[in-house]
Symmetry: C2
Subunit: 462 residues, 2 copies
């Protein structure tokens, strides 16, 4: 009898693992159980769909259930996993269409249940009217709501990546948006002193910001949302979008006795194996190692989910083929993330000052404003830069950039530095590109590296 590899969750991590095993172990039976109607879609694209840049939710689907099936994978969509019985090697599931429960047996299991949006139940009305945008189903519901009736004002709770992206998309399509955040600055993944240009750009673009305000209630009349009441006042709103973060969806795993890690996500080793033999975890529900702090972290991003899925697929295939350990390991993450806001690109990698302090690093930070193009060109643009390096060693600890012009991929240069332990002394000498449309002869990151070499009293000081 062929081995059965069961995957809970058919998005980036789970579907990737399934597809790999399906290719690498032809006689394995590969089965995906997925709660939604979709598999393998771009969650990061949801704001673009909500805002109307895309016509159909399915535009975001990279690989549909039908496509997975055509490749030989069994895919049960709209099927919820209710309980994992590790000893009996079955997952109890419910067909959400018929309501009928059944068991799905497995030899090996990948738990890739993703994350669920935070939706606090101590804010009156929020559970009733707050609309998350975590999954494509949720994105569809929000867009349907926007199209169903004239929506003039939307309150977006949470000023992180998703909140900002949704707000921009709404404003761009003629809907008035207000971002409400309890912090005094948007984007807590940046240091507060980097958020200023974001605030300015959003306000210039026509988006209202209510910062440092606590959401107290969502008010309604006759079952229709009317406003959000905050510690700072009342904000009229026909629709309330909730984008205040998400939590790894761990309760099934926990219930099954899988160990959770310090981040609250499922604990895994470098092959994404959990504490239970023959059970892996991958994607938003799993932990990774932060390469700069060594700490276990839960960073929910499609990039990590894809790589996790590959590593799991390789390890599962090796196990099924009797090859011992899979030859892929997931080295860890450095916290790279980027987004775009109008013409402004926002990127970060490594540790923020806040994080570096918390991790106990002795470091210096260089903070400056440069131009995106050579200063003598028309409209040279502006890039806010912050670079961090460790005292003594000069190792690059993090970078943040906000501005026009190539910020996202500049951040990848710094990400590579953080990942590989490059020092500011070496970084300043790298053969990085230069042409007037892309900056000055010293790349902005190298300008930062030079500043840090001086600040830290390292050598050579160019």
């Amino acid at each position: 009898m062929s081995a059965r590899f069961l995957v809970i969750g058919g998005d980036a991590a789970g579907a990737t693992a399934a597809a790999h095993v399906n290719r690498a172990v032809p006689d394995a039976e590969v089965v995906i159980v997925e709660q939604q109607a979709y598999t393998s879609y771009s969650a990061c694209g949801i704001p673009f769909y909500v805002g109307g840049d895309l016509d159909h939710a399915t535009d975001l689907v990279a690989r549909s259930p039908q496509q997975h099936r055509a490749a030989g994978i069994v895919v049960h969509t709209q099927t919820r996993a209710d309980r994992i019985d590790v000893d009996r090697r079955v997952v109890h599931v419910t067909d959400l269409v018929t309501g009928r429960p059944r068991e799905e047996p497995f030899d090996l299991l990948c738990y890739a249940a993703g994350a669920h949006p935070r939706l606090p139940d101590d804010v009156p009305g929020l559970r009733d009217f707050g609309m998350p945008v975590q999954t494509l189903d949720e994105g569809e519901r929000l867009r349907a709501e926007l199209e169903r009736r004239p929506v003039e004002r939307v309150a977006v709770l949470g000023g992180g990546y998703i909140g900002i992206e949704v707000a921009e998309a709404l404003v761009r399509h003629g809907i008035h948006a207000t971002i409400i955040d309890r912090h005094d600055a948007l984007m807590q993944t940046l240091d507060p002193d980097m958020a200023g240009p974001l605030h300015e750009r959003l306000r210039d673009f026509g988006c209202d910001l209510r910062l440092g305000e606590q959401v107290l209630a969502v008010e309604s009349t006759d079952g229709r949302c009317q406003a959000v009441r905050t510690s700072g006042g009342r904000i009229a709103a026909d629709v309330v979008v909730v984008a205040i973060g998400s939590r790894p969806r761990t309760w099934l795993a926990e219930d099954a006795g899988l160990k959770l890690g310090p981040s609250g996500a499922v604990a895994t080793d470098e092959r994404l194996r959990t504490s239970a033999d023959g059970v892996w975890a991958a994607g938003d529900c799993a932990e990774s190692t932060h390469l700069l702090t060594g700490a276990k972290v839960n960073i929910q991003l499609g990039t990590h989910a894809n790589k996790h899925g590959k590593v799991v697929g390789i390890d599962v295939a090796a196990r099924l083929n009797g090859d011992g350990d899979g030859d892929a390991t997931f080295p860890g993450v450095v916290g790279t993330a980027v987004t775009k806001l109008c013409d402004l690109e926002v990127g970060r990698t490594g540790l923020s000052e806040r994080e570096a302090h918390a991790a106990g690093f002795d470091f210096a930070a260089a903070r400056f404003v440069g131009t995106a193009k050579s200063g003598y060109l028309p409209d040279p643009g502006e890039v806010h830069v912050k670079l961090l390096a460790e005292r003594g060693t000069g190792r690059v600890l993090g970078a943040q950039m906000v501005g026009t012009g190539n910020v996202a991929k500049r951040i990848d240069v710094a990400a590579t530095w953080c990942h590989l332990g490059v020092t500011v002394q070496d970084a300043q000498m790298l053969d990085l590109s230069y042409a007037p449309p892309f900056g000055g002869t010293w790349d902005l990151l190298q300008v930062g590296a030079r500043k840090l070499v001086r600040q830290l009293g390292l050598s050579p000081q160019l």
Copy 2:
């Protein structure tokens, strides 16, 4: 008596060295001898000035002679160095305004004489009518020529970076431009199969291309340029721009007995010291080590010139201060270069296939076309990618990219890989950024890395 540090050439390399020594050794006498009227300008910006994006040539000057003087440096502009007498420690110079020769003594010398444009004298008429755009003086002459009389048609000889940039600038300002190149593809720093999108974009933009044609003569009537005659025909031209490369300006150094290296530029060690004690060479006239081949190369770029100048300044200052060797060394280059053509960005780093073959590497190349944004977004753009890695080790040997969307700084990621010896196995696992406006979950360079891992039979194959 204070020591005298003399610098021949007051642009990126020379002026940087002078400024460093001037700051680091307050009692040194620092003197620059510069043939032109300008110091410290952006040669890369000349096409933008010629094309009219900038009003004044001085917009390109980062630090004028007056500014250098205000900092305490003696600057002799319009002063030509004629002969270096290393034994007597003097440079024979001529004041180009008065025509008067004199001697400039030195204790330590930096030779930063730059490069001179190739202007073959076996093409009739070329010496008379061909206008190079190597220096700001030459840029000024060309722009004056374009403004002096109605110029309708310009022939640009040479389809490298400068030729393409000048041609685009001309077309953008309503002048008909034809690029003539003896090769079948533009940009010999790219492999020929990467040049296709460039050809297409230039032609779409209205620029004529005459590829694979030898220039035979420049024809004139009554002292006015009329046409360029090539092996392929006759191209009407009011002005002929010459951008067929440049050579390190070495004859003064050679005449003084300084050793030249295999590249034809002045031979230097890692502190840019020449074969003569107390004499350094820096910038376009000096050699660097190619970090992938170990060969000595002469790559004329402002980025290297600036770093060279710093390393020289630090070494000279250490010598003057009695500190032994300067603590900065120039590690070498990997051949990074970028440019912009309309909305197309063009970048390369490391070795092209041609170069990798010539250097005797056993390697594989991945060549593919990806999108600049996530494929589901409107106008996702197109990026042509080529990545090279060494067989056996998997070490990244080079990258070329042509397309819309962040190519220039993506190339810097690959440049860092080439510089640090990163393998495709490791590269595919780096925590690089992702958001839909900037590409897919696997960065284009990581897509290439994954392809190469498979092509080379390395592990893990994600």
